[in-house]
Structure formats: C-alpha cells, structure tokens
C-alpha cells in the first residue's frame, strides 16, 4: 500500500475530442505562445540592457524605446496564447499537472503575482516615454528577473508532472505546497536551454525589425545586433542542450539516440537548423543587401522552435511511457461543438485580420477620432 505510485486516475469522462486534434492544437498554440514568450523575456532583457546604455549609444536608446512601446502588447499575447495550450494540456495530461501543481502550489500560485508585477513593471517602463531615469530602468530589470523566475517555476512544474515517483516524498514533509523540483537532474539545463532560446528568439525579432528599416544605419545595426543576439546564445545552447541530453534518464535519452526514428531525426534537424540560422544571420549582419540571408536565418530559427516544441512533446511522452500513454485515453468527440469552435476560430482570425489591416493601412498622421471634431 505504502509503495503505491500516486498517479491519479484519468477523468472518468472521455476526452471530448480526437487525440490528434487536441495534440495539434496543444502544440500549435504552445509554439505560438513560445514565440511571444521568448520575445517577451528576451525582449525585456534587451530593453533593459539598451536602457542601461541609452546615453552611450543612440541606437540602443532607440531600440529601448521601440521595445518599450511594443512589449506590453507582446506581454498581452504571451498570456493570451498561453491560455490555449494550458487548456488542451489539461484534457490530455490534466491528472498529472493538477497533482504536481498542488505539490508546488505556492510557487505555482505565485506565478500570478509575479506576472502581474512584471506586467505593470513593463507598462511602467513603456509609459515613461523617451528617456529613462535609473529608477525606471531598475523597474524593468526587476520585471525581467520576475519573468525569468516565472519561467523557472514553469520548468519545475512541467518536469515535476513527469515524475510521480518523487511526489510522495515532497508531499509528506511539505503538504503546504512549498516545493520545487530541484531534485530533478534536468531542471537547470532545461531551464537554461529555454532562457537562452528566449534570447535567441528576441534576436530574431530584432532582425525582423531591422529588415523593415534596412535602408537606415539603425536598421542595419539592428540586423547585425539581432544576429549576434541569436548566434551567441544559440552556440551556448549546443553545450547546454548536450548537458540536458546527458542528464536525461538513460531510457528516455535513447528515444532520441536511435530507438525512436522520428525523435532521432527531429533532434538531428533541430541541431542542424540553428547552424544554418547562425551562418545566414552572421552573413546578413555584414551584407549590404541582407534580406535573403536574414529571411533564411529567421525561417531556420523559427522552424527550430517549432521542431523543439515537437521534441519536447516526444520527451514528455517518453518520460510518461511507463505510467501513462495518451493513446490509451477514451475519446468521445463533441463534433458539433468542435465544428462551432472552428467556425468561431476562422471568424476570429478574419476579425483579427480586419483590425490589423485597418491599422496597417491607416495613414500615420491622420485621425478623424483625434483629428478634430466637427468635420
């Protein structure tokens, strides 16, 4: 009895959608969330560094201001896009996530407070206008640290949910929820892998931004600096990724070293693509017409993120294989509601497109709303 593994039973109700659809939506929305989250975390760090150097480098000052303007919106969509994967994750893995979340309930719940503080910190920075006193820079620094802390808590919980063998030893002495999963061998390399990835993706964001202004010296500076911001953390990530790989349990590691062909091939591609990105972005940084090389670099980088999302999913299932297989879930699709969701989803995309199009095509200086009354 005491040796019982505390794996909760799955919900007695069947999953209300086919697994392929739930998994596709989970991975797709998580991929989008990751792009925004990385831009947010990496972008906040970059904005902080830029604000620190605002007096020494006019380009840095300009980038700090631009990031200040855009980061609140990036934050909003990081959260919005984070809700969807959390939703679909619960259908498939909810029974594991609830248990691990309860074990580390205090830090898990603390995410809400940390995100709220970081969010208002970013807004504070954003609303300060064009130059930043030391206190404002400090607020952004704190917000960045808080976001890094949030990422760390996520890494802890999303590894703890894979390790039910550790749950009772955490729950027994501390049922109050004051736990982390630091005993897990992969927590730190995994966390570092993601944080370095966030910096690299923020680098891609700078390159995209630079391409739009490539005719100016500032635009070329952005492409160069953005490329460097991608390259340095990515090179480090090869080392951290190797560290991550060797810290995986042998059984799980073998999934990526030949036992599972798809996983092995994806890992191979996932290691080659960043190389292509490094080469192209480095060349783009010193090229007079950088569009093509930068585009290949950005594409390779973004595709790497997508592949890493799939690898992460395979890794999760490899960990869970002895205790839970999603393929074994009972399924009873609510097709009518699924169809309605797809209709609403398409309508939502169309509405989004309309709004962005209206914004993009609006003349910059003219506004009837603000451009005077009585016309």
């Amino acid at each position: 009895m005491l040796a019982m593994m505390p794996v909760p039973q799955v919900d007695p109700m069947a999953a209300p959608g086919p697994l392929w659809l739930l998994r596709t939506l989970l991975l797709l929305t998580f991929f989008l969330h990751l792009l925004f989250m990385n831009t947010m975390l990496g972008g906040a760090a970059v904005a902080f560094v830029c604000a620190m150097h605002q007096k020494r480098s006019p380009f840095a000052a300009q980038l700090g201001r631009e990031l200040g303007r855009v980061l609140p919106a990036v934050f909003a969509f990081t959260i919005t896009l984070g809700v969807a994967p959390l939703l679909f994750l619960q259908v498939i893995y909810g029974h594991l996530l609830y248990a691990s979340s309860i074990l580390m309930a205090v830090p898990w719940m603390g995410i809400i407070a940390l995100v709220l503080l970081a969010y208002y910190g970013v807004y504070y920075f954003s609303l300060r206008g064009t130059s930043y006193p030391a206190s404002t820079v400090a607020v952004l620094g704190v917000a960045t640290v808080l976001l890094a802390g949030v990422a760390h808590i996520y890494t802890n919980n999303f590894t703890l949910m894979l390790a039910p063998e550790r749950w009772l030893s955490l729950y027994g002495p501390r049922p109050s929820g004051w736990n982390m999963n630091w005993a897990e061998a992969t927590v730190f390399p995994r966390y570092l892998h993601f944080v370095l990835g966030a910096l690299a993706v923020a680098g891609l964001y700078l390159v995209v931004n630079g391409l739009r202004k490539r005719e100016t010296a500032y635009g070329r500076w952005l492409i160069k600096r953005g490329g460097q911001l991608f390259v340095m953390p990515t090179i480090l990530n090869y080392l951290v990724g190797f560290w991550f790989l060797v810290r995986l349990p042998a059984d799980v590691r073998m999934t990526f070293l030949g036992r599972n062909q798809l996983a092995t091939v994806l890992l191979g591609i996932g290691m080659l693509l960043p190389l292509a990105a490094i080469v192209h972005l480095t060349l783009a940084g010193s090229n007079e017409s950088p569009v093509r090389q930068a585009a290949v670099g950005i594409g390779s980088g973004v595709l790497t993120v997508a592949i890493m999302v799939v690898i992460r999913d395979i890794l999760r299932n490899a960990y869970l294989a002895p205790i839970f297989r999603p393929e074994g879930l009972r399924v009873a699709p609510q097709w009518g509601v699924i169809a309605l969701f797809l209709v609403v989803f398409l309508a939502g995309l169309a509405t989004l497109f309309y709004m962005l199009h209206a914004l993009a095509t609006a003349p910059k200086a003219v506004s009837a709303a603000a451009g005077g009354l009585g016309k």
Binding site: P16, Y98, Y119, P175, G348, T351, L359, A368
Partner: protein, 498 residues
C-alpha cells in the same frame, strides 16, 4: 482522493473566492466598459464635444491598464486556483466544456487585440473604423461572458446534463439566461462606476456632463439587478432555497448584497444624476466598495447555493465525486488514496489528513468557518457518530466518505481540537450548553428546524428518551455525555422556553 490536498492553512474555497471576486469585479467592467467606451466616443462625435472625447481617450488607457492586465492575469489566476483547490471538479469541467473554453479563448484573443488597438490607435484610425474596433471589442467581450456564464451556471444547475452528459444540455441550463442578463446589467453598472473614477480627473463644466452620463449607466444597471436577481434566484435548486431560508450566513450575504445595491442606487441618484457637481472621490470610493462587496455577496451566494456540491449532483464541495462515496465507504480512504495511505501508519497525521481531504475546502481549524469552536466539548464517540450524519446536520455538508477506521481517526482528530468540560452557572445553563453541543446541530427547541418539545413531560420520560436515541431514529447518535450532563440536559429540555 485522487489528488493530494493543498494544505494552505485556511479553506481553499476562500482563496478561490478572493481571486474570483477580484477578477469578476474587473472582468464585468471589461464587458460593460467596452460598450461605455464606444457609446461615449460616439456621443462625443454627435454632440461635437471635444472635452468628452478627451475624457474617453484617457478613460480608454485606464480601461486597458485595468482590464487587459489585471483582468486577464486574474482570469488565469482563477484557472490556477481551481486546479489547485478542486482538481477533480476542474478536470470534469475541462472534459465537459473544453470546446466551450476554446471558443471563449477565441473571443478573449479578439477582445485583447481589439482593446489594445482601440486604446492605442486614437491618432491613427478614422472615426468610423475606430468605432468599429470598439464594437468588435465589446461584442467579443460580451460573447466571452456569455460562454463562461454557461459553464458557471452549469455548476449550480446542471439541468438535463446529469442524465444526458451532453454539452448543450449543461450549457443552456435553467439559470443560464437570468444569470447572463444579471451579469450584463452588472457590467453596465460597473462601466458607469469606473466611468466616475476617471470623471473625477476632469474639471467643470465637462465633469458634470460626464458624471451624469456615467451615473446613468450606473443607475440603469443597478435598477435592473433586483428583478433579474429575483428571476435568477427563482431558478436555483430547491435545496438552495432551503439553505437561504434557514442558514444565517446566507441570509446575511443576501442582506449585504441588497444594502450594497441600495446604497449604490441612492448615491447614484443623489450625486451622479441630481447633483453631479457634488460628486467627489469619497462618494466614488464608497460606490467602488459597494460594487466590490456586492459582487462578493453575489458570488458567495452562487457558491453557497450549490452546496454541498461544487457541481450540483455530481461532485461535492470537497472535490469528491458523488459516485465514489459508496466505494470509499466500503474500501476505506487509505485503500483508495495513495496520498492518505502514506499517512495511515501515523493515526494522528492520518486523522489530520482526513480533515484536510474532506473538510478543509470549507473549514479551517481556528480561522474562517473554524472547527475548533464547532466541536468544542465533543468526545471521540460523539464525533465519529456525527460523521455518519453530516448531511442531516446541515444540508450544506457533503457526507463523510470512509470506513469505520477512517471515522474513528477523523473523530479522534476532531475531538482533540477543543476538549472542554461543560460548565455553567446553574443546571439550566449547563443543559443549554449540552443541548447546543449535542442536539442543536440538527434540532431546535420548539423552533422551525426539526423542533423538539418536551413541555409537560416528566423528568424520567425525558431521561429515558436520552437513553434510547438510536432506537428512536437511526440518524440519532447516542448520548455519550456524563450523567451530570444528561441530567442538566433533561432539566433544560423540560424547562426551556416555558
């Protein structure tokens, strides 16, 4: 049983309530405030009122900072909280309504995008497009409310879902429509209330115009609340009506809600509509407090109304499935839950863990809904007997689930919380204390609830009665007090109320 219990030191329900009330206060503003923004903007164009336009621009920034940040993050906070406190119920909701939430997520996404574009594009978009974006925002926000409302009301009145398990049967349940209309009226009232907050930063004479305009929103929303609230309440389950009639905590919450609405209506009429010039920060502060407290009262009553369940008829408030109770009674908690099994070797810890599992979602030991005061003087036998009859003691209590050993362990733990010898100035007073401790959980003396009346009976008859309680009804625990206490009880039963 399936999950560990977060032993956070106070009832988890209180944490849910705190996060939820803060969230709904802002999220209803996020809905009504959308309509308020766009209609105020349109009004400024129609009346050629540049001051009003300047106001609505400022208000939109305040609106975004409050709703897009605080509203959105606390909304995620509710997700986190319910998953921690009621994982079984959360899992069940997910498995029933994940596509409803997915639809709501699309509205949420559009809502956030529209809010940001609306707020930051005053200088870029033409009037018509800007208004369209505003309407998109409002429609998405209201649609988001309309979806979530279906899931929240399902928990109170699942209707035909209990038989069919169908999505739509649960979604369009008996309280869906009245709740949606009531929440829409609340959203309008909060739009006006927060409109007054930013109106304070304007100066006369535009301030009076804005205060009157915002006050009209507040007043219209508020006066719609009582009839809609009454309709909503009429659709509550029958057992909820009994709770509201009998349990003081529910009646106090109703009274509190009525007072909040009444005070807010009076202030809206007196300051915003009649004498807008006199509107001041103190009045707006009182209005906000009334709004938050009224919202708290409404949410409290909705959750109270569905007790002993968290999903009416399906999952109890302590996250135990109705269908599981029989199995747990037969096999025992330690056999079913690995979390409890780990503590089974230590009787003290096991009893405490059982308390955490079955009681702590609503009760704390010494704080909110404290058990220490409720079990004062209980002995172990009485405690474990009472555990057999919890739903009878109060309709809001789920049954205890567990075998004989579990009942003994929890009974021992409860009895250890506040051991006390019953004392009093005279026999009558001692008797009253004994009655309150042992009988008043289920009975009143010549009152409404399971009344007892021993007037005219001799002492021997009443004493015999106390010796054969279990024979009189299987629901009655035996009297386990001392003979002195029994005597005092008899004196009290015969003499009280004469």
């Amino acid at each position: 049983m399936n999950y560990p219990v977060w032993q956070l030191g106070f009832p988890g329900g209180l944490l849910i309530a705190t996060v939820a009330v803060l969230h709904v206060f802002v999220s209803h503003f996020a809905v009504g405030g959308g309509a308020y923004l766009v209609l105020t903007e349109r009004r400024s164009y129609r009346h050629n009122d540049s001051d009003l336009l300047a106001y609505v621009k400022r208000h939109s920034k305040f609106f975004a900072l409050l709703t897009v940040v605080f509203g959105a993050v606390t909304g995620v906070g509710i997700w986190f909280t319910i998953g921690l406190v009621s994982p079984e119920a959360t899992s069940s909701l997910i498995h029933t309504f994940v596509w409803g939430w997915a639809i709501e997520w699309v509205f949420f996404f559009v809502e956030i995008a529209a809010a940001l574009i609306y707020t930051y594009s005053w200088e870029r978009l033409d009037r018509h497009t800007h208004l369209v974006i505003g309407w998109i925002y409002f429609i998405a926000a209201w649609a988001s409310l309309a979806v979530i409302n279906g899931i929240i009301t399902y928990m109170l009145t699942p209707g035909r879902w209990l038989q069919t398990r169908g999505f739509w049967a649960g979604f369009f349940n008996p309280t869906y429509l009245p709740s949606l209309l009531m929440r829409s009226a609340t959203a309008a009232a909060l739009a006006g209330m927060f409109g007054l907050v930013t109106a304070l930063r304007t100066s006369s004479p535009v301030r009076e115009r804005i205060v009157r305009w915002a006050g009209a929103w507040l007043a219209i929303g508020l006066v719609l609340l009582p009839p809609l609230g009454w309709w909503y309440y009429a659709k509550f389950p029958g057992f909820a009506h009994e709770h509201f009639a009998e349990i003081p905590a529910a009646r106090h919450a109703v009274l509190w809600g009525v007072i909040c609405v009444a005070v807010a209506v009076l202030l809206a009429l007196a300051f915003a509509l009649s004498k807008p010039r006199r509107m001041n920060p103190a009045v707006v502060g009182v209005l906000l407090i009334c709004g938050l407290a009224g919202m708290g009262s409404g949410e409290y009553l909705r959750e109270f109304g569905r007790k002993p369940y968290v999903i009416n008829g399906y999952i109890y408030a302590n996250d135990m499935r109705v269908s599981e109770v029989e199995r747990i009674d037969t096999q025992g908690v330690a056999q079913i839950s690995p979390w409890a099994a780990a503590a089974a070797a230590d009787p003290v810890r096991y009893g405490r863990d059982l308390f955490q599992t079955q009681c702590a979602s609503c009760h704390s030991v010494s704080g909110y809904r404290a058990m220490r005061s409720r079990v004062r003087g209980w002995d172990e036998t009485f405690a474990r007997e009472i555990l057999l009859h919890l739903p009878l003691t109060r309709g809001t209590m789920p049954p205890f689930a567990g075998d004989e050993q579990d009942r003994i362990a929890l009974g021992r733990y409860l009895a250890s919380l506040a051991p006390a010898t019953i004392t009093g100035a005279n026999e009558m007073e001692v008797g009253r204390h004994v009655f309150e401790m042992r009988c008043a959980l289920c009975h009143t003396l010549r009152g409404k609830r399971r009344p007892l009346d021993f007037g005219g009976m001799d002492a021997d008859t009443v004493t015999d009665f106390t010796r054969s309680l279990s024979d009189l009804s299987p629901n009655m625990p035996p009297f386990t007090g001392t003979e002195t206490e029994r005597h005092a009880l008899v004196v009290y039963l015969r003499g009280a109320g004469k």
